[in-house]
Symmetry: D4
Subunit: 147 residues, 8 copies
């Protein structure tokens, strides 16, 4: 089972899921989570841009080579919305995954519930914690529920 | 040409585009922009829910009948990000449209540039004003530039 | 908007929806609802079969020419489960429509809730009455809620 | 060859097929067949629901992560209709598989023949016993008929 | 309903179907049935070829512009196998239509039954006469059986 | 029949085809053929760019809104290679059309034959003159050859 | 590279290709070539049929489980037309493969050239001997031509 | 990660990329780069043609068996435009890859910038050197930037 972990990059939620899923036959993928590298990859490789828009544009497209291939290959796409920032790229990934027919799991706190209702409506599961994602992956793969 | 106008519902940007496009052979569609109706449509028709999550869930799914059909039918999807709110549904629509191969136009102010870089990277045009959308639709259809 | 009305053929639920939707820009389609004609169409046109299996087989395939084209062309597929019979063809249509990415509305009484949970989980709306279908179609098309 | 075994969970038909297919290069998949776990998985992981509809809804969607991925990956989908219950999920799976272009094998007793005629009409084979499924898988893979 | 009439071009079966379907809302299409024009169209327009293979190749490709567009647009593809010639193009069209998910009707005499078993197995109806095709189209469209 | 006319914009080949096709039921589309407008459309509407790369980039993407929608809608794509310039956009359109399964007609002089062999190999017809395109469209639609 | 070998089952052309391709990284698949088993597989496993049409129908559908999966998985489909029989299933496979976008190689003697012109027109190569198929597979994989 | 290297065959840019990517988990594919073999493969295997058009046609189609399968299997398609020749096949590959939704990287010198603007507009990255391609592949796979 291939699982793509999209969204928030400032907490260790991905590590918690990967650690919790030890023993399962799951292959995880994710965007580059080094914030600086992710922001500057375009100009670092393809040349500097004086205009911030094109600076970001080159980087976002280069990152898209990684993220779209990973989402296209995934069986399950988990999208985490954290407490900070606009996180429009996370919502974009959710829409992209939904249109591609991927099984979508959305993870967010209760305070974001109303603002995320359209995203949640496209999901097969909505949860709050990494442990719930692990429990779901284990159930989906082995049929066993947490005791 | 079918154009879907996604995103912000609290300003009159859709009206400006529709007014500006008079004389063009364009058919516009949009989500329900009556905020109260959009929020409550699910329970109003399908029965009340004590839990706000399911209240919103019913509404978001009912709205999806309209929005997905409209995006699927569109040649061009314009997504407007305004000044307020999370607007994750707008970013979701952008991701959905990108995955479906729709021509994507994103409209937003300069202050949102960095946060929207992944969305902009998937677009065929990024602009700031309704007039620019009108100018693009006229050029795409007639080949004439604004004088 | 094209709406396919699948399922139960022994009550007048289709007529109620069509009557209620007068004034909306909706084009309805449905299977052949003449039970005898639907059962015997294959042998009536293509020749008798001594074996009931092939008698039914010829008819079911001939009916499929109509039903699959209609579902494939539909924006919305409404599937009604009535009180009687196995109605496996209704559930089959729901699965077929879900796989084709159609907006699915399921209509059934409360007593069938548990048995239909997988079908309901694939739907964008679950309701009980023809009036609710009409209300949804009006809302989806015009954005107006029942007063 | 990947074979998904859908439908009835109260008899040992899956075990018979798996045992009979020893020596063939077949990879079997199936839904979670622990009835209690399957019914309660949603609330066990994602939180209790006072309303039975949403209790079932959460579970059905979580199960769909497993079943849709398995059907999407399958070359052959075998759907078994047993003697009891409505089994609408089995018919839903058959419709879903048919729309996805999967090779469909339907297994049921003679008494269900008329009610399943639309499902049978979409199948490449209709049979009654697990042994027949094994014989078909062997023939399809090795070209050898039962002696 | 769009119906493509493929196969034999030496009898008037197409005319019989078109005449019989008067009053139905059916749009018929067909290959070019002028045998000489069909054979020579390539070289007549694109220049002579000394090698018969390329003479035929140019013509077959030019005809494919018409036939593939017509099959792609059709809801129903009727393939007629006559008494003479190899008619491999008819079988090719049947395979092409089957792969595109078109409703396939095959028409042939009883003597061709065994040789056409794979083609018939992909069809939703197998018949012998133009009248049967008309009867099916009328039933599929209006639900009425021949009296 | 929808026909997209791609490629060279410095001769009147499109006009010749449109004039020759009078009386046929053909709807033609084409890129914007005003060279200056096509080059500058991006910056004229979306703002100036000091870097020629982004100047061109904005324009090429805006033009793509028109050209991709037109190719996607076309039944036949005619690609004309003229005597001058690199014309890589014409070859790009041919590849795009081939991948989308469009009927491809390539038009070019004999001197380009070897360099265009991969493009020609994907075409259903290769010709040299607008008149040949008209003759093919007439034959494809009416079955009549030039006298 | 996966190569499906369709068509004639009465000569050893498949064995010649497999033997010639030793050393290449090619995985071959084919229909069941035991003529008796292929004809009778349906009734042998699923029960006798008094009517020859249904006898053949059951067998043809069971064989389709194998052949369609193999063609769908193939990169290259080779279709051989021999000297005898109608071989409509070979032409059907060619049409099916063409519609699925498979690379098609057609093999036949010169006497069938005119009758197969539509099939040949859909192919990427037309040849006469198994050695030519082997030479092509070697060239496609290794870039080496026969010395 | 599967990467197809399309375009120029007269410099060693492919070797540079393959050498630079040692240690990455990348599988490279490419067209046959032996110019003489590529030009003559068709007639060498399938028989001589007196007409240069058909000589080239046979070769181009045989090469297409390799190139289309490789592009269809690729995650990333790199297209290199060199200093010489028309290179329409490179632009054709770029259009084909874009329509198939592949991640497209275009490599060319600054002098080709304007002529390639439509091709560049479809790319996720535009670069000049093999080292930049290697740096991108490393970043996409490992998230590490060149130091």
């Amino acid at each position: 089972m291939k699982v793509y972990l999209s969204g928030e990059i400032h907490t260790d939620w991905r590590d918690q899921i990967v650690a919790g899923a030890v023993g399962l036959d799951v292959e995880f993928s994710a965007p580059v989570t080094d914030h600086a590298a992710s922001d500057d990859c375009g100009v670092a490789i393809l040349g500097a841009e004086p205009d911030k828009f094109w600076h970001d544009h080159k980087g976002a497209k280069l990152n898209a080579i990684r993220t779209r291939a990973a989402i296209d290959a995934a069986d399950v796409v988990v999208v985490r919305f954290g407490e900070k920032y606009k996180q429009w790229n996370a919502a974009f990934d959710a829409g992209y995954a939904a249109a591609k027919g991927k099984a979508l799991i959305v993870m967010h706190g209760a305070d974001h519930q109303h603002a995320l209702k359209e995203v949640d409506a496209a999901a097969l599961a909505v949860c709050e914690t990494p442990q719930q994602v692990v429990d779901m992956l284990r159930y989906v793969q082995n049929g066993t529920l947490p005791s």
